[in-house]
């Protein structure tokens, strides 16, 4: 007799059709054209990017008018990731950054490039590095990464409410 069976392997594979929804689709389509489109909250007028269609704070649908944003911004906070993950295809270590785009009132989670890992810091000014236009799709991934823009650091008070 061989050993008893102690572990059962059960594969689970489920296929879904995911929908980005109305507002996010508008923003993603703009991404495909190299534009960063935010939307304003109808209650306090703050600009959300990326937008998911509603202001989570007020539970209200965003104003429909698009607000075009700059692809420059400020690193609000960051970390340095040294953990491999199946979901992420980046060389380790790399710096995930939370970027406050100029003109936006919310942060965008992205990664930093062209910057030695020990020089990443809060308040750093950055600009987007885009993939070649031929590779653009309806994805925030059209921005390959952000890189230091060389501008002087933003003062802490200018971004501290976004941490």
């Amino acid at each position: 007799m061989s050993e008893p069976v102690e572990i059962l392997k059960t594969p689970v594979k489920l296929d879904y059709t995911y929908s980005a929804g109305q507002s996010a689709s508008r923003f993603l389509r703009a991404m495909a054209e190299g534009k960063l489109i935010g939307q304003r909250c109808p209650v306090d007028g703050r600009v959300y990017f990326p937008t998911r269609g509603s202001c989570p704070q007020h539970g209200a649908l965003m104003r429909p008018e698009p607000v075009e944003l700059s692809d420059r911004g400020t690193v609000v906070t960051f970390s340095i990731n040294r953990v491999p993950s199946e979901n992420i295809k980046l060389d380790l270590p790399y710096a995930p950054v939370q970027v406050l785009l100029d003109g936006a009132d919310t942060i965008l989670m992205h990664v930093l490039g062209e910057c030695p890992i020990d020089q990443v810091h809060m308040g750093m000014r950055v600009q987007a590095v885009w993939k070649p236009k031929s590779e653009w799709t309806t994805s925030i991934g059209n921005i390959k990464y952000f890189k230091p823009s060389g501008e002087p650091d933003a003062p802490f008070d200018s971004y501290k409410e976004h941490i």
Partner: protein, 151 residues
Amino acid sequence: MPPPTERALTAPHTLQYTYKRSLGKVLSAFFTGLRDKKILGVRRKDGSVLVPPKEYDPDTAESLSEMVEVGPGGVVRSWTWVARPREKQPLQHPFAYALILLDGAATPLLHAVDAGSEAKMKTGMRVRARWAPQTEGAIRDIACFEPEEKK
């Protein structure tokens, strides 16, 4: 809210993982039995045999542990016909899912019956386990059940 004015972007999304399930004593005995081409149930306090077995009595939560061999033949208690099997289902040609009360068991087991056609399915019919060519310790070691030859 106005109805959607433009089509939303959609994309395929797949959730895929092969889970590794630890079994504990009773399920381990059940799956080891299947690998060795035996179907085991577990005896309840009243003497009746629960199939498939559990380490506890579903009605009272009392611990159970005494394994008892049942089947491999049994009686169809209920069934339904799957005319267009899905990719993950046990057989890729039309078959029946059935609740099968195995000989010696007090509770029926759900499995597939390869009857050829819906007309051949009948509540009360006798069926018998057909083993997979390779058994590894899984419920699909029983490839399916098939109608028992009349003697």
